[in-house]
Symmetry: C2
């Protein structure tokens, strides 16, 4: 599936051999719907194809795409005026959208550079990834750079969760910084545990007050994103595994998975629902009950990893449930790759294959991570 | 429906007699889901209740709410540091979100002040509305104040369309500025006609290049919002009516309605669909096919007005179609008011009554405008 379907789809239709980099705005059959490029996906695709090259097969077309992505990122994705990264560029690499509140473009570039360094033995890219990480740390610590959307101070789960994964990948590429980066990871996990994993409701919240109290009077404070929390769960489990099966981290990761799989799984139609309300009140977000591709990917990985680490049959059963759901509803047998957006009842909302948010990342990552887990189980 | 159901619903559950102003984050039964307040809706509710007071019935509770809204707006909704308006406040009126790209908060305050001035004979509020309009004009003309989301320069339909309605309401409250404001309105209509009403595709687009060329290679350039275009259509028709049935404006308004009703009406399940693609390509926005309450309101008004002005049976037929659709799917017989968010097949997505975007505006406005049109037809 990965090597014969997903990776070739984006190579064939997404790779822009003229201007470099990758398009993601593709229709069901791969036809180009949007000529602009996502900055996130230049970094994300770089992570995917570099990791596939290192882990699966050394195909020259992966290397060709990776080289192109690196050039495109370095030549076009940074704003020379302040060094911050853009969000969206024209096909030639001219700026279209820059988002000043977030550092996700930077995070995915770090991921990509780190993977590129490992796959093609280019240590200077591990150093570039590290330098970019230190820049991001600076943005996060210096007030006034990332202007928050809300004037009411809040803490978000998304930041420590994505940092956990990014820094973990960076550490693999840069063993000499292992100690410093592990300390940083300890901090992210502590933050997740203290602020967002909430035993009083048995949920992982997305947002809370800076003093740790919940924001139950507010739409955003009650919002649960089960796929996102489950993604965080397997980031924690991965760290537990890297620490030789650390019991505390293992407990934290499986708790997050248990609570949020229970909240997210749709008993009526199957699949992980996009949003839930922590108190079970009426949903705020009108598309709350859709089924997106990526929460299913995260639920598959998290359950397989939890099974491989704990041996508990319930995780294997849940993995099989998710896997069957994906195969029944998301795979596009006719044109390859997966659909991205289903209604709650699993009917198709839009058949397109990519947007500024869907591209070569969650799906190939699921296969790459799952292959590693299965290799481990076979040993 | 208006006087016995919709207006009382927000008076009973939304009006915050403690801190002033109106909440909109209400559950199906009126229970408070969100204690923050929408700045848009302080102005919008003011327009609604002031207009109901002037046009329908002089109920003291309408006046009480209007006075409270005016105080809340003047005391809390403006940022003292730069005079710009906020987007969202806490219940006590502390800033929560300020949006720097838009002037919609200001537009709705102008609408509200103008209606308040007319309803309660407070000419100083017509002057305040005018002063705020001149401030908005300044923001729009001075580069660097409203930082656009896209670095690729674009023109949007939303701005001249909302200005057309706002300035038209302001003119009613301020006859001495009639000439100046009519010239401004001429400009907005010209802009709509030249840039957004596109005979080559028979559509009203939401966005185009500054030179008037279409952006057909981009998601946003192909995006159609039929409810929004139909709302614009009745703004144009209203101006045609005020000019004694101006034939050119009448033609423009009915053309916009004809094209976009044809694009928007869902032949399978009824109702106006949220988004369409100008070239019929796969939708980008994953919730594109939902049915929201407000496009139905706009389609009802536009068809009724077009019928009253043209006498053409097809508009009456379309009005009846929309009216029946609303009554079948949107009215909440049990708890009053309307649902807001249905799936494409008209099943309920979320039963809540209000958000930061749904509150006392489109629905009561529909009844208020429809009453005026029906009065005209009876004469």
């Amino acid at each position: 599936m990965l090597l014969e379907n997903v990776l070739p789809f984006w190579l064939q239709y997404g790779f822009d051999r003229t201007h470099g980099g990758v398009y993601t705005g593709l229709d069901r059959n791969g036809a180009l719907l949007e000529t602009d490029k996502s900055v996130w996906f230049q970094g994300r695709a770089l992570w995917v194809y570099a990791t596939a090259y290192r882990q699966m097969e050394r195909r020259p077309e992966y290397q060709e795409l990776c080289d192109s992505l690196v050039s495109f990122i370095e030549n076009h994705c940074f704003d020379p005026s302040d060094g911050r990264m853009y969000f969206r560029l024209s096909q030639e690499g001219k700026p279209v959208v820059k988002r000043i509140r977030y550092v996700f473009s930077e995070m995915f570039a770090i991921l990509g550079f780190a993977a590129y360094s490992r796959a093609f033995d280019r240590p200077e890219y591990a150093k570039k990834a590290y330098a970019l990480f230190k820049k991001v740390e600076g943005y996060l610590n210096e007030p006034g750079i990332l202007i928050p959307k809300f004037e009411r101070e809040s803490k978000g789960f998304g930041l420590p969760m994505i940092l956990l994964n990014t820094v973990s990948e960076l550490r693999e590429a840069l063993p000499e910084k292992s100690e410093e980066l592990t300390r940083a990871i300890d901090g992210y996990i502590k933050e997740i545990e203290i602020f967002f994993v909430r035993p009083e409701l048995k949920v992982v919240v997305e947002q809370c007050n800076p003093d740790g109290t919940l924001q139950l009077d507010h739409f955003e404070g009650r919002l649960l994103n089960p796929g996102h929390a489950i993604e965080g769960a397997w980031f924690v489990l991965t760290e537990a595994q890297k620490r030789g099966g650390d019991a505390e981290l293992m407990h934290l990761g499986t708790t997050m998975l248990d609570w949020m799989f229970a909240r997210g799984w749709d008993e009526d139609y199957g699949g992980i629902i996009y949003y839930r309300d922590a108190l079970g009140k009426s949903a705020t977000e009108y598309w709350h009950d859709m089924k997106f591709w990526w929460p299913q990917c995260e639920a598959a990985i998290a359950n397989l990893l939890a099974y491989s680490m704990s041996g508990k049959q319930e995780y294997l059963h849940q993995f099989e449930q998710v896997d069957k759901y994906i195969k029944t509803h998301f795979l596009d047998e006719e044109h390859g790759e997966w659909f991205g957006y289903l209604h709650r009842d699993n009917s198709l909302s839009t058949p397109l294959k990519g947007t500024m948010y869907k591209g070569p990342f969650h799906i190939p990552r699921m296969y790459l991570v799952a292959c590693e887990i299965l290799d481990g189980l076979r040993q």
